[in-house]
């Protein structure tokens, strides 16, 4: 039976040598088959969490479970099923792209044909004898991803994978990750501070700030998490008069050039507001609720 969570941490905490708390009681749960966006500003603890999960840092407190089993006693079995790219890609600069992949292919014992396949997948099939050290930052990032994909992992852990990629590269990366997730069932844990980028591809989100997990759930749940953030936008024939009418009702009204906004109202209050505006001979062109985007919710969470 497949474990519901591919990755699960329980009460995971980590402190630096000087006692500074980096992570506090982190309960991360990455569902099987998901694209899990691990969001947080720089220094929030994302990379430390991923390094603990992969055994690159020794766990001080708490537990890490991968594929339903504790990580430490099943380290090799778990790592066989994981592909990872942590921070800047690890490449042997004096070797070619093919040789870099051969280094891993020997360890993972995957078919040699996979090397050509993953190089084509990331668009590096024609790099020939050029040493990886002479690649651009974007090419290095692609090769790092090719190395993570080589053994067809069930769980892909990517730490800031779009660093160094141009807009087209980011688009291609997004498509690649979606394809891996949808066609091959690969679970993807992707950390980033590029919130808008993650919003376009993730199914689940974890928000971390100062070592604490502030939110965890589906993207839809996150968007519903803070309805107080949602506002009602009004575009009328007279924005100034609309503002004064809204303020006269005691609403927290804000002017946005030709439009105004107020906190989301109940349906009856919206109808009453429209009647008032029409009665005051203000034409109502558009009235719509704004769904706060991930970035707004995120900023609201981390500044709260």
């Amino acid at each position: 039976m497949q474990a519901p969570y591919v990755l699960e941490t329980q009460q995971l905490s980590y402190r630096f040598g000087d006692g500074t708390a980096i992570l506090q009681d982190l309960d991360l749960r990455v569902p099987a088959g998901s694209i899990y966006g691990f969001l947080g500003p720089n220094g929030a603890g994302k990379t430390t969490t991923l390094r603990l999960v992969l055994g690159l840092l020794r766990v001080q407190q708490g537990q890490v479970q991968l594929f339903g089993q504790p990580f430490a006693p099943h380290r090799l079995a778990a790592l066989r099923r994981i592909g990872a790219l942590i921070e800047a890609p690890s490449l042997y600069g004096h070797l070619t792209a093919i040789e870099n992949l051969q280094v891993l292919q020997m360890v993972y014992q995957c078919p040699a044909a996979r090397i050509g396949q993953v190089l084509s997948t990331v668009g590096l099939a024609g790099t020939g004898t050029k040493p990886a050290g002479r690649f651009s930052l974007g090419m290095k990032q692609r090769l790092g991803i090719a190395m993570a994909l080589l053994h067809q992992p069930e769980l892909l852990i990517l730490d800031e994978p779009t660093n160094g990629l141009d807009p087209n590269g980011m688009l291609e990366m997004r498509e690649l990750l979606r394809t891996l997730n949808q066609q091959h069932g690969t679970t993807i844990l992707i950390s980033s501070h590029l919130l808008a980028e993650l919003e376009k591809m993730v199914s689940h989100v974890g928000v971390i700030h100062r070592g604490r997990l502030l939110f965890q759930g589906t993207l839809a749940e996150l968007q519903q998490q803070r309805p107080g953030n949602a506002r009602l936008w009004l575009t009328t024939s007279d924005a100034a008069k609309t503002m004064s009418l809204l303020q006269a009702r005691g609403l927290d009204a804000q002017r946005h050039e030709a439009a105004c906004s107020v906190p989301l109202l109940a349906p009856a209050a919206v109808a009453d507001l429209v009647r008032t505006l029409v009665r005051e001979q203000v034409d109502v062109y558009e009235i719509r609720p704004s769904q706060p985007d991930l970035e707004a919710i995120f900023m609201d969470m981390v500044t709260a």
Binding site: L76, L79, R80, I86, A88, E99
Partner: protein, 256 residues
């Protein structure tokens, strides 16, 4: 065992075109190239030398003179440090430690690469000595040396030098696994090598693990005689340093 062989193959590929790989080739042919050049310059003596029954022994000794005391210890210090530096320089310890390999396999495979490179160095050095011994004569029309090559004695010497180097390999491996900064293992190695040269005439010189290459070359000279059998000491130091290096490596809190 299969895991170790796969890991070794992977590590061996990493050294391709690396500075450590070039160091082995260039270091092995450096002294033979000097001997070759000297023989060409002093070509008037070639025929007489070539006819001597101890031609190969003299050639062997002159080739090992600078190699045993200077070049071999320094080469081992550099090559061992460069092999671990491959991971630091490329920020790839984290890649290596997230592959499904036991830490003992990773540790052993890297050490095995250094040891095989030493074997490769000795092989190339022997080839270089042979070429330095016969090429000048062939180029200048001097007959091939009359004396047979004493293969068994030379192989025995190779083996003793290999064992004599083991403590340097193990201690350099320990230091270079612990420190990211390349200057630490190289600087530490150089300091120990200078110390080893300074204590060659001391009766307790054998206590310094970097002295064994020099003592191997100088053996038979009463001034440098040591009260103990050196090779068992070399093996002992190698085992001690390797055990310590493995313990420290496994206990590292951060693995990339």
């Amino acid at each position: 065992m299969n895991a170790f062989i796969r890991s070794f193959a992977s590590e061996w590929l990493k050294r391709k075109r690396s500075l450590a790989a070039w160091l082995v080739v260039c270091g092995a042919f450096f002294t033979p190239a000097i001997i070759f050049t000297a023989k060409l310059i002093r070509h008037g003596h070639l025929a007489a030398e070539s006819a001597q029954p101890t031609y190969w022994q003299h050639l062997w000794k002159s080739a090992w003179e600078s190699m045993a005391i200077f070049l071999l210890p320094l080469g081992v210090i550099l090559a061992t440090s460069l092999i671990t530096q491959l991971e630091y320089k490329n920020n790839s310890w984290k890649l290596l430690h997230t592959t499904p390999q036991r830490y003992s396999v990773i540790f052993g495979a890297k050490l095995a690469v250094v040891l095989v490179m030493m074997g490769q160095f000795l092989l190339l050095f022997n080839v270089g000595i042979y070429l330095a011994g016969v090429l000048p004569g062939l180029l200048l029309g001097v007959p091939y040396p009359a004396a047979p090559i004493p293969y068994a004695a030379f192989l025995s010497d190779d083996g003793r030098y290999l064992v004599a180097c083991l403590p340097i390999v193990a201690l350099q491996y320990l230091i270079s696994l612990r420190f990211r900064n390349f200057l630490v293992p190289v600087g530490g190695g150089l300091a120990l090598w200078i110390l080893s040269v300074a204590v060659l005439s001391w009766q307790y010189g054998y206590l310094i693990p970097y002295t064994y290459c020099s003592f191997t070359f100088l053996q038979g000279q009463p001034r440098f005689a040591q009260p103990v059998a050196l090779l068992p000491w070399a093996v002992g130091y190698f085992l001690l340093f390797t055990g310590a290096a493995y313990g420290l490596y496994v206990q590292q809190r951060e693995k990339g």
